[in-house]
Symmetry: C2
Subunit: 354 residues, 2 copies
């Protein structure tokens, strides 16, 4: 167990007083009450997390957790394993989709190698916290040892604690790892006791036969580890991935250190689910970026009782949905900080007619 | 009839060649094919509208069409008529929600007074093209004369032609007008032959009794003008509004002059519907920002066979949804222009395994 695990109990609920302050200001601004819809609830939570009259999410950091997966040898992805490494290089060279988005929303990008099967040149934007060069094949043995699980959880916790120390105001969590939709589906199936069929999708674009094979692989893995799948940490150990474990640690730390965190798609949501099983309060600090095209994501968001910000049938990963959603949240904060009240603008509010 | 009405026939379809170029480039970028979901179809259309290897939507203009409504004397809104005028002043003072959003996405805001029941001081950001100081009460007589309809249509057409001359690269269309959800519902009901019940919503927040009254008012108006509601221009004249007519002209001009236009919510969608009845090709040039909370909007988007960019239950108007959606489109263009291809990045594409 990581040495911070007792701190997970100390995650604070949002202060109702701050939510009230936010709701009141939203109501006084020159708009019909409630007319920003869901955006208002996001703004309320951001205010309550930051506990500031005028919240700020200017300092944005995108964390991309990268790792390889032993299960990829079962042929569960259209892409070869080497793509994880190549995409990490692409991130560092600024050539990936997330780089274009990060430049657009003016966010830093930080890559965490928590288990890529490759060595990289030193780079200030690449944090090396490798648990091992890829998990083991979960259909034959646990994906990782308990010690490796700890290392991965720690990596996620530490990088968020560091972000807090550096006054980062909002995080976007994303991932890269060939084979990781398989691990995420196994984690979600185990934690929610859903049939693998209903929480397994096509990943990067499997055809029907590929999807059926992937489901069969997940079933085999779950069968092998049956009896060990009762608690979330064991689930991560047996059928998870290093990046999924690290993001679980990151989500817990975001809640513990009160930094809002935007959750990207299917795989990051699986980590958020695992974290929520350790302490359901983490959900107060999370913003689910989008409902992805991956089968099962809609169901998972529903089970978590959260509303996604976007629904564009994206399925890329690498924090791409999180970056887009973050810009919607930032727009919300700008509205909250800048719009005049009815009194300031001399506009009649509806109350004036009653 | 406006003298440009024959030009409406000359609206060009998008060139399949440019769509193909866009699709090809999206496919070659370092991402699984199709993984940006709906965003890819938006990017494709933007490329085909601009006909450029590297499209640009840096120069953005938000057009807000403001007008008053005679039907407001039937008590169909929670807010008094004077709020239209007060909100126009708020826009000019930079204190409204759309101003905060415009600053955030770095867009110009231009207000068109096409029928506000008030006079304003001269202001470079306010274009005066008043057809009349508010429509007539549609439950008693046609909302406007044919001459006023022409004036309103012209105002919208001209402001878009001017934007084209000034090299504006994308438009966001929005509106302000107490009572205008009523006019929009009447227009949609007349054009789609839907029952007013299914296309009438709570506007700025009516309760159940208010909603029933609003539906009854719309039914009365439609009954009065029955027999005149066969063509879209007549519908606008009898039960429309000056801002709805002007936005109809603006949508037609956007398509004619090949500028992409982001359609805000319920009221702008009603104008887009009217324009699409004059030439269905306008839809190629339109991007529907969001599915609003207004009852009927979902149905209307479905009838138009368009996918909204956002779905946040917003119901503010004033181009607020359009501004948010525009930032998603701009992010899409940044991705299209900046992301490396598999070949450039040295990443293995799935084809390499086949």
């Amino acid at each position: 167990m990581p040495n911070w695990i007792c701190e997970v109990k100390e995650i604070l609920p949002l202060e109702p007083g701050w939510r009230l302050i936010a709701r009141q200001r939203l109501k006084e601004q020159t708009r019909p009450e409630g007319s920003l819809g869901l955006l208002e609830s996001f703004i309320e939570r951001l205010v309550a997390i930051q506990k500031k009259e005028r919240p700020e999410i200017e300092r944005k950091r995108i964390l991309i957790f990268a790792a390889d997966h032993g299960v990829s040898e079962e042929g569960v992805s259209l892409y070869p394993r080497e793509v994880t490494k190549a995409m990490v290089r692409n991130f560092l060279n600024g050539g990936a989709t997330i780089n274009a988005l990060a430049r657009y929303i003016q966010a830093e990008v930080c890559i965490l190698d928590v288990g890529v099967d490759a060595d990289f040149e030193a780079d200030p934007r690449l944090l090396s916290a490798k648990a091992r060069g890829g998990t083991r094949n979960m259909t034959r043995e646990p994906a990782m040892s308990l010690e490796e699980l700890d290392r991965a959880l720690n990596a996620g916790w530490d990088v968020v604690r560091k972000a807090k120390e550096e006054d980062v105001q909002i995080l976007a969590l994303g991932e890269m790892g060939i084979g990781n939709t398989t691990a995420a589906s196994a984690v979600v199936a185990a934690l929610t006791e859903q049939d693998p069929e209903s929480v397994t999708g096509r990943g990067t674009g499997l055809d029907e036969a590929g999807l059926l094979h992937k489901i069969e692989v997940i079933k085999r893995a779950l069968q092998l580890h049956e009896g060990f799948l009762k608690d979330p940490l064991r689930v991560l150990q047996c059928v998870g991935g290093y990046e999924i474990a690290a993001m679980t640690g990151a989500v817990l730390a975001a809640a513990r250190f009160q930094i809002p965190a935007v959750i990207d798609g299917w795989i990051v949501s699986a980590a958020a689910l695992a974290a929520s099983r350790l302490n359901a309060r983490v959900l107060d600090y999370l913003f689910f970026a989008h409902q992805s095209a991956e089968r099962g994501h809609r169901l998972l968001l529903k089970m978590l009782e959260v509303e996604p910000i976007l629904n564009l049938s994206m399925r890329l990963g690498e924090a791409s949905g999180a970056a887009l959603a973050l810009s919607i949240l930032e727009a919300g904060i700008r509205i909250y900080n800048e719009v005049s009240t009815f009194a300031e603008a001399g506009v009649a509010n509806r109350q004036s007619r009653e």
